[in-house]
């Protein structure tokens, strides 16, 4: 009797596994996200990009995703699982996935990999990121016009170049209008933790900040700004519905067209390893509507954005001095991409020391 049941179970398992295995023949695109797709920010925007692939390419590809993957030993397993379950193109969307992606890419030379915000590449591993600092500069300009206390509160995740670059761009934008502006930074050591992010925002407001901005993935700091009656910015995605009175604008990440083009290249056999760093000009970064501000400020913001898009203005245009007063860029010079990618110093006007 027992043996019969065992046989039946084994048979059923085999039947199921062959039926599931049959799907592996089609083209599949996989994504891993560091946060939940409901974070209303970073991971949410990547998932919007994934859905754009489904919409644009329809039956030609199937997409799947794994959310809330921790940066650490788990990442390699998850990436490998995607690679070994028949995905031909895999997007890994957080900096901490870099080395795991590289390791799996070596093991699966036929699978194509795309890693967001990293710097290690190989024949089947591309990197891509957005020039979010362009949006930060515009936000800084708006903040300078809207602040009364001249103090901006900045909720930071980790002191990596990406985040430091955002802080510096914001301050350079703000100081182009009002040289008295300073920035206070609180590091929360996480990309997504609404509780911690909110606490940091509250502490910053208590220290006199009347503008809150953040480089973390949830709308919590913006919600705190709304409750406390100060201004804030959306991050990665338009968060106006969370803060109808507080959001001035939001820096929006647009991955849709990049993802669709890369998936199409994979299908057509034209995919090549590359490094893409797109900004306003490429449509990879854009701004949400300018709200809760007088029309002269929104006009100025729009002009700033247009100048960056056309290349007339570069956020990191000299003269730029660091905190110690050392000149990092002479007047008229622009910091090159290499310096921007490894940025580990604050510009003059950021309070506190960069954790080293």
């Amino acid at each position: 009797m027992f043996r019969k049941i065992t046989l039946a179970v084994v048979a059923a398992a085999f039947a199921l596994s062959t039926s599931v295995g049959a799907i592996a023949e089609e083209n599949k695109v996989g994504f891993i996200y560091v946060g939940p797709i409901g974070d209303h920010g970073w991971s949410y925007r990547h998932d919007v990009g994934r859905l754009a692939i489904e919409k644009a390419l329809g039956d030609r590809v199937k997409t799947s995703f794994i959310e809330s993957v921790k940066e650490g030993p788990d990442a390699e397993r998850v990436i490998q699982q995607l690679a070994s379950s028949g995905h031909n193109l895999i997007f890994t969307t957080s900096f901490g996935f870099m080395n795991p992606t590289l390791k799996v890419a070596k093991r699966f030379p036929k699978v194509k990999f795309e890693h967001a915000t990293g710097y290690k590449r190989s024949d089947n591993l591309s990197t891509y990121s957005g020039r979010f600092y362009e949006g930060r500069y515009v936000a800084g300009v708006i903040a300078a016009k809207m602040t009364k206390s001249n103090v901006v509160g900045y909720v930071g995740s980790f002191p990596i170049p990406e985040v430091v670059r955002g802080i510096n761009a914001f301050l350079l934008g703000a100081r182009s209008i009002n040289p008295k502006i300073t920035i206070k930074v609180v590091w929360v050591s996480t990309w997504y933790d609404p509780g911690k992010e909110a606490d940091a925002a509250k502490a910053l407001i208590d220290q006199g900040a009347d503008i809150i901005t953040q480089h973390t993935d949830s709308p919590a700091p913006l919600q705190v700004a709304e409750n406390r009656g100060v201004y804030g910015f959306g991050q990665a995605s338009d968060n106006l519905h969370f803060a109808p009175k507080a959001q001035l604008t939001a820096i929006i990440d647009n991955w849709d067209s990049y993802y669709v083009s890369r998936a199409r290249a994979m299908l057509d056999g034209t995919w090549k390893s590359q490094d893409v760093w797109g900004g306003f000009k490429d449509g990879m970064v854009s701004m949400a509507p300018f709200t809760n501000m007088p029309s002269d400020v929104s006009k100025l913001a729009a002009e700033t954005q247009a100048a960056i898009t056309s290349g007339k203005l570069h956020p990191f245009q000299g003269p730029i001095k660091d905190q110690e007063g050392k000149v990092r860029a002479e007047a008229g010079k622009v910091l090159d991409d290499g310096t921007l990618l490894g940025m580990n110093w604050y510009v003059e006007g950021v309070e506190g020391k960069l954790p080293q």
Binding site: A13, L16, S17, V20, G30, P36, S64, F65, I66, E67, S68, K70, E71, G72, P73, D74, E76, R77, V78, Q80, Q81, L82, S84, S85, F95, G96, N99, R107, Y119, F158, P159, I160, P161, S189, L341, G342, M343, N344, P355, Q356
Partner: protein
């Protein structure tokens, strides 16, 4: 009125049956959840619990995931038996990784055969050092080790964060928060080529066996159990309670340190800001689910590891949300506790026997 009434006598059979019953109840619960989510429950359960194990990659990853859980779980369960509540394994794991990994970073161009053994010893010492602090505070000042060990976890994680953001940052890494990659001589060898199964798995099995010997054969094992079950009897018998506290904490700390070292040198290959997705805390569930018995811990470590793998598989194949993993883990623990309660107590509806008898 519904009340719980003590059964007086425990059923030994039920003690070991209740985890199995909890697993069965979790499966039934899962069927209902998947049905509500609009997924075919049979396919979903298959995807979750069987599919991860249908190929070598899946089985090997199960072992990789279970290794730290079992290593830590054994240490914790031995302490828990003596009512020594080390909640800070996460911190001890982290310090173990720092001690052992630090050696690999310092000797990054070494190809010495002694590097790896040195790292293993350093990892264990690191975990022990971190566990010695709550042990000292408990035996000297009677400070609650639950609080001190938990708080020290956060200190350890922040210390690691400081090191990888600062002094130990990879000089060629564009200021990103991670150290150099460990040299080959500082990497735990993989046991099966093409997989990530590393020597740490062997450590885990050895530890399961040693744990069983300690608890069932060694004098100190008996003392630990007596202290846990009948503290007054233990004092009467003249057991040195402080010695047992030190033993439990150093043992569980050392094993957590070993787990941390195995993770960084077996799977990650460098130090990064987060080296553990909460293994030190999950191992507490593992210890209880395994009835604080070494073999039980081994089995429950594998079951819990499977829930992680199954959760990922279900996301890829049938598009369930990541939260389903947590739902299963929570349901498992809930049903286990519920079964335990009903093993020790019976439900009474209405007045108790004493009240009915009208003794008053």
């Amino acid at each position: 009125m519904i009340r719980l009434e003590h059964r007086g006598q425990h059923s030994q059979t039920m003690l070991y049956l209740s985890p199995l019953l909890a697993v069965v109840l979790t499966l039934i619960f899962g069927t209902i959840v998947f049905a509500i989510l609009g997924k075919d429950p049979l396919v979903a359960l298959y995807t979750f619990f069987v599919m991860p194990l249908t190929n070598l990659h899946g089985v090997s990853e199960l072992l990789v995931k279970a290794t730290p859980l079992v290593l830590i779980g054994i240490g914790l369960s031995i302490g828990f038996r003596a009512n020594v509540w080390n909640i800070g394994a996460e911190g001890q794991l982290t310090i173990g990784a720092i001690f052992g990994g630090g050696l690999a970073i310092y000797f990054h161009d070494s190809d010495s055969l002694f590097l790896l053994p040195g790292m293993i010893v350093a990892g264990i010492i690191g975990g022990m050092v971190w566990a010695a602090i709550p042990a000292l505070l408990r035996t000297r000042f009677n400070a609650n080790e639950i609080l001190t060990s938990l708080m020290l976890s956060y200190v350890a994680v922040l210390f690691l964060s400081y090191l990888v953001h600062g002094p130990w940052r990879d000089p060629g890494g564009y200021n990103f928060p991670e150290t150099r990659l460990f040299p080959d001589a500082g990497t735990l060898p993989t046991l099966i080529s093409g997989t990530r199964v590393h020597l740490g798995g062997v450590f885990a099995l050895l530890v399961v066996f040693s744990g069983w010997i300690i608890l069932s054969k060694a004098v100190i094992g008996l003392q630990l159990r007596v202290v846990g079950l009948a503290p007054a009897a233990a004092r009467f018998a003249g057991y040195n309670e402080n010695k047992l506290i030190w033993f439990s904490l150093l043992l569980s700390g050392g094993l957590a340190g070993l787990a941390g070292l195995s993770e960084v040198s077996g799977t990650i290959g460098q130090l990064i800001p987060t080296i553990s997705p909460g293994y030190g805390f999950t191992a507490i569930i593992v210890a209880f689910l395994g009835r604080l018995h070494p073999v039980g811990v081994l089995l429950s470590g594998l079951v819990l590891a499977l829930t992680y793998l199954g959760g990922e598989m279900a996301q890829i194949e049938i598009g369930t949300p990541a939260a389903v993993t947590g739902l299963f883990q929570g349901a498992l623990l809930f049903f286990l506790l519920a079964c335990d309660v009903l093993t020790n107590y019976r439900l009474r509806i209405g007045a108790t026997r004493a009240e009915r008898g009208g003794v008053a």
